[in-house]
């Protein structure tokens, strides 16, 4: 029995009939073709599938698409603004916050939730916020620097604006 869902993803409204057992990550990747959200462990441990649902970071492998009905979803594809990288994306590039890049979309989306709550996090707060995101390449050091870069850039932008 299919269920109709209406979701806004990266500002665009969609309506689809889905099998209720469809995971949100499957819906994003297989139905909408938004493959920037990765499936890592598929057991809600690694955080690679993290996206924002109504502004909060969630693991999209542990959420059904039907649970997102009526919600605003944001994925890594929605972070850049008309070709201009989001400060977090820029930070990961500038500070070499990735090697293979598999965990990066999840890292960025979780960091977006953090910076929304706490625009000037300490190093410890960044590490705590990212405890649900695993990286097997970088050793986290440059990831933390990347988030610090973004926090600084966002606060400078706000001062100018």
């Amino acid at each position: 029995m299919a269920t109709t869902i209406q979701v806004t993803v990266n500002g665009k409204a969609y309506s689809h009939d889905v099998d209720p057992r469809t995971l949100l990550v499957q819906y994003l990747r297989d139905v909408l073709g938004l493959t920037g959200t990765h499936v890592g462990c598929d057991t809600s441990n690694c955080g690679a599938c993290t996206i924002l649902v109504d502004g909060k970071a969630v693991k999209s492998c542990t959420m059904l698409a039907v649970q997102a009905d009526g919600s605003e979803v944001k994925t890594i594809e929605g972070m850049a603004d008309n070709g201009t990288l989001h400060p977090l994306q820029e930070g990961f590039r500038e500070e070499h916050g990735l090697q293979c890049g598999f965990c990066t979309p999840g890292m960025i989306m979780t960091s977006a939730d953090l910076l929304e709550r706490n625009p000037n996090p300490t190093e410890h707060e960044i590490r705590e916020a990212l405890e649900g995101n695993f990286c097997r390449c970088t050793g986290y050091h440059n990831i933390v620097k990347s988030v610090q870069y973004a926090a600084k850039k966002i606060s400078n932008q706000e001062k100018v604006a």
């Binding site: 209720p20 499957q26 598929d42 441990n45 039907v66 649970q67 916020a129 649900g132």
Partner: protein
């Protein structure tokens, strides 16, 4: 990993959810945040034919004061509780425990009611709710009833909740003046579940322990009140030595669980260590 096929209903009220549960009987499961249920369904450990979604019910998602009690709606997320000044000022172990659950993504979705109903033997909330003398409010087709946290957890993933009932709220009585609390746990580094966790609340008057409430989780098949620790500390001066001595009773006479991560012996050792840490922090 994809769950088995099921029919999905989103309830628009608690009453509708109760009606749907009654209609579908044993084949139906409630879905709140889904952070215990969906992983189990993906592994096909749980294969309900019907899911009744209560995850969007605003009537279940609140944290408020009613008289002297703190009342937390069953649909409040761990993150809601972690950020609630009202919860922190009532008993700081509530926010400490909330902040130690999983990670921010899990806390954004998982709910207090869901965690209590699931009753994972390594979950944090059961111990905290026992130590807080919480009352758990349930509603079913025949009306509402209240079960104390002490009586709610009956065994390995087992609770007093009937098949057709929903947890609606958790009511925590205001602690007496001079009460401080703490939740301390040794966590599994991947899942962040408690290998052993201890919630302690201490009411102090002139350096003497007037009242103490201690509960342990992770140690055995269900969270439980450590009555022997309470008895060993009540009426005593809250010195480091007295606390350490009382904590030695933690886990006494308990059938401890063992797994590849921590043996029974190690868990029993941790129970004493974490009872002491929680009591020390609460007595400060």
């Amino acid at each position: 990993m994809i769950p088995n096929k099921f029919d999905y209903h989103r309830a628009t009220s608690v009453d509708e959810a109760i009606r749907l549960m009654a209609q579908h009987g044993m084949d139906a499961k409630l879905l709140a945040g889904g952070h215990s249920l969906l992983p189990a369904m993906k592994l096909r450990l749980n294969q309900p034919g019907v899911l009744v979604d209560i995850g969007r019910l605003a009537e279940l998602r609140y944290i408020k004061k009613e008289g002297d009690s703190l009342v937390i709606g069953a649909g409040a997320t761990h993150d809601d509780i972690a950020n609630s000044d009202m919860a922190r000022s009532t008993l700081s172990m509530l926010s400490e425990a909330a902040n130690l659950i999983g990670d921010v993504q899990v806390r954004n979705k998982g709910t207090l009611g869901g965690s209590l109903a699931h009753a994972d033997p390594a979950a944090d909330w059961p111990a905290v709710m026992i130590a807080a003398h919480a009352n758990i409010e349930l509603r079913g087709p025949n009306g509402s009833r209240t079960v104390s946290a002490d009586d709610f957890f009956t065994g390995f993933y087992m609770t007093a909740l009937a098949e057709d009932e929903i947890i609606t709220a958790i009511r925590i009585p205001a602690p007496p003046k001079g009460t401080h609390s703490s939740y301390q746990k040794f966590m599994q580094p991947a899942s962040r579940f408690a290998i052993v966790g201890c919630a302690a609340s201490v009411t102090k008057d002139g350096g003497v322990c007037q009242k103490v409430s201690v509960a342990l989780t992770g140690l055995s098949d269900t969270a439980f009140r450590a009555s022997n620790v309470e008895a060993a500390l009540t009426g005593k001066k809250l010195t480091k030595e007295n606390i350490a001595a009382a904590a030695q009773a933690a886990g006494e006479g308990v059938m401890a669980m063992g797994d590849h991560f921590a043996s029974e012996e190690y868990r029993l050792h941790l129970a004493k260590v974490f009872a002491k840490r929680a009591l020390m922090a609460a007595a400060e």
